[in-house]
């Protein structure tokens, strides 16, 4: 199972665990799975076209995902996923 960690800023809006386990095959599938587990969470990460929001970053095994539009980057059972956002402004 891939292991998923979230920015603490998302925990303000959803009761997320420290770590979530997933058998999703792609990042897009992971977002669908997360939205099913925590309804509404998907719309925080992606927009209504399914693209990663501008200031949200998804890392898989130490690399930013390549496909911000369709989130087709593959996951495997050993993957470590981190979902972050860029902090900005004051």
């Amino acid at each position: 199972m891939a292991r998923v960690r979230f920015t603490p800023h998302l925990s303000r809006y959803f009761p997320l665990p420290a770590e979530h386990e997933s058998d999703a095959g792609t990042v897009a599938e992971l977002v669908t799975e997360l939205d099913a587990a925590w309804p509404g969470l998907g719309f925080y990460i992606v927009d209504e076209r399914g693209a990663l929001r501008q200031h949200v970053a998804v890392w898989v095994d130490g690399e930013l995902i390549q496909d911000r539009e369709a989130l087709s980057d593959p996951l495997d059972p050993a993957s470590h996923v981190t979902i972050l956002q860029a902090l900005s402004g004051g």
């Binding site: 800023h9 200031h55 949200v56 860029a86 402004g89």
Partner: protein
């Protein structure tokens, strides 16, 4: 439309603030939804719920609602653009409860140029496709924001299916069939920046805000990019009330609850500067339909001032005497005598995006 005169909901860059008037005067409450930019907040007079549109920088735009009078908020299913539009929600610019006869109807004016409606109390939302078709066909452009946006929604108290919207940049539009069809209502408006060859088009205008006179829904006031206008015939045509420099550029306009000839605007120095005129804040009031205007300055700063109210940041209570406005640098002013004198309640708010009596 305002529903009372003793309670204000203030949408700020750092949360939703409630300000109330009691025996001891006005007091500031706790900041709800702290840290979250509130683009607009209002109370639904039909059921007392409080709605807030949230402009998360990172997580997209969201809607939140309180059904316990502001003690707690829960996220509501947000309006989403249908796939055929190819668009995504950028901003929920204005919220408007529906007519009393349609208790589960609620509107959200959005950027890019959309109007969403729910008829089931926020469970599902529909994009008004007829209005969207005009937005795409006529290539509405951005004004105050990157894309065109719906910032004003006025519902005829006589007919729930008779609605006006104002769009920057398009115009004022009217539907009489609940949004199935829309017509531009631009007759009499000016667009000094119209590109050559487009002067006769009914779109491309930049109404900054429109307010319906509650006492006569055929009377509509409009603060436009190029002046101040009023219609007395349901927006079939607009009368130009512009009298530079003080009745000219600005953003908000408020209509008196019972006197159709009375309204307030807050002038600003030109579209190129967008600051208080000569460093001083001034409210302009008319009591004769816009022929003459009185300067209301008492209690407002008269030098060294640059901040100003955005379009949703002036409101009048149902008593017609209590007014409030707040500015881009967090100053909140209240009048209890129809604008004759003003008191500053605080200088320390975050940037203010909306001020509405609740």
């Amino acid at each position: 439309m305002a529903t009372t005169s003793n309670r204000l909901l203030i949408g700020t860059r750092k949360g939703l603030l409630e300000v109330t008037r009691g025996d001891g005067g006005w007091s500031l409450g706790e900041m709800q939804l702290p840290g979250q930019p509130i683009a607009y907040a209002c109370r639904d007079p039909r059921n007392g719920s409080i709605w807030a549109s949230i402009d998360h920088g990172h997580w997209g735009v969201k809607l939140s609602r309180s059904t316990d009078d502001g003690a707690t908020f829960e996220e509501v299913e947000p309006p989403k653009y249908p796939e055929h539009t190819g668009k995504t929600a950028r901003y929920y610019w204005v919220l408007e409860p529906g007519h009393a006869d349609t208790p589960e109807r609620f509107y959200v004016g959005t950027e890019p140029g959309g109007l969403f409606v729910t008829n089931d109390d926020g469970k599902t939302w529909q994009l008004d496709e007829a209005l969207w078709a005009l937005c795409t066909e006529h290539k509405w452009m951005g004004g105050g924001r990157d894309n065109a946006g719906v910032h004003s929604i006025c519902i005829d108290p006589r007919d729930p299916n008779h609605v006006y919207v104002a769009v920057s940049c398009a115009s004022v539009l009217e539907t009489t069939d609940g949004g199935a069809t829309w017509a531009y209502r631009s007759e009499g408006m000016r667009n000094d920046y119209a590109p050559e060859g487009t002067e006769s088009k009914p779109y491309g205008h930049d109404p900054h805000f429109i307010a319906m006179a509650p006492s006569n829904p055929d009377v509509l006031w409009q603060q436009n990019h190029f002046g101040v206008f009023r219609s007395t015939n349901g927006a079939a045509s607009w009368d130009d009330l512009t009298q530079p420099p003080l009745v000219n550029f600005g953003f908000p306009v408020a209509a008196h609850p019972t006197r159709e000839e009375t309204a307030w605007i807050i002038p600003m120095d030109s579209d190129s500067k967008r600051v208080a005129i000569d460093g001083s804040l001034c409210v302009m009031r008319t009591d004769d339909g816009g022929s003459t205007w009185a300067e209301q300055r008492e209690g407002l700063p008269q030098k060294g001032t640059w901040d100003f109210p955005l379009r949703h940041c002036l409101d009048v209570g149902t008593d017609g005497e209590t007014l409030a406005f707040a500015t881009t640098s967090g100053n909140l002013y209240v009048s209890e005598d129809g604008g004759g004198s003003w008191a500053c309640l605080t200088n320390n708010l975050p940037m203010v995006y909306s001020v509405r009596f609740a």
